[in-house]
Symmetry: C2
Subunit: 150 residues, 2 copies
């Protein structure tokens, strides 16, 4: 269970288990899709209305370092997050430019590529990310897309 994983991580790092951190943790697990810091704040406040924006921003790095969340930057200003439930790394993101939806797709060659290329440059790879930007065929053909939100 990942809640326990988070508490262990906090203890191990000498960090305190506060109600706010637990509320943010719960809120993160409640999200099914990718979410922003702001969306996480909204949800966390439903659990504990004392949670502030600052604490969300201070807790996000803790959760990514503990490998409970993965940070995804698609270059749109705000960063997205997603819990690492089943999948681990080796995931690419396909971003629909019409829907603004983010699809997670397996890309098993990424680690290999990162290692190979880094070695040639005298570097040690830390992470790699692959993102595909694309347009929605349904929207192009019919003028609408059921996924469209923003």
């Amino acid at each position: 269970m990942q809640r326990q994983q988070f508490k262990s991580f906090l203890a191990q790092k000498g960090l305190r288990v506060t109600n706010q951190r637990l509320a943010i943790l719960e809120a993160a697990f409640g999200q099914q899709e990718h979410f922003t810091a702001e969306q996480l704040l909204d949800q966390a406040r439903r659990i504990d209305d004392s949670v502030s924006r600052a604490t969300v921003y201070r807790t996000l790095p803790i959760m990514t370092e503990s490998a409970i969340l993965r940070e995804i930057d698609i270059g749109t200003g705000e960063k997205f997050y997603r819990h690492t439930a089943n999948n681990q790394s080796q995931m690419a993101q396909v971003v629909c430019l019409d829907c603004d939806r983010i699809f997670e797709i397996s890309a098993p060659f990424m680690d290999w590529y990162g290692s190979t290329v880094s070695a040639k440059l005298g570097l040690t790879p830390v992470s790699q990310r692959l993102q595909v930007s694309a347009h929605c065929n349904t929207l192009r053909d019919t003028g609408t897309c059921r996924h469209r939100s923003r």
Copy 2:
């Protein structure tokens, strides 16, 4: 010649050829490495000191749309740009977390991957980007790295 390519693009779009836009264009071609909007502003001002920050920011999208520049976002707040001189797409970036240097590496499978994956989702790929973050072995082993700048 890419200068002509840019002027054609402006004419074709009904945009005006101004001294400021030409100065920014020249400045962009004068850069050998990746550069930021701020660095481009500095260089452009040496050619035409009337160039303002606003115009640089308004001209950058025009240059990327005309495929003269490529935008690279490594998630560090500011965006980087590079002229598309020899290389086209199919390039991955390896970012050294110590040096902050960006290496451009060929990644010929990217287009294929983007197309394949997009097709399965009912999407039409527009672009793809692959970035590897890595640490410098030289810095780790000797404590210094000749590339280190910031």
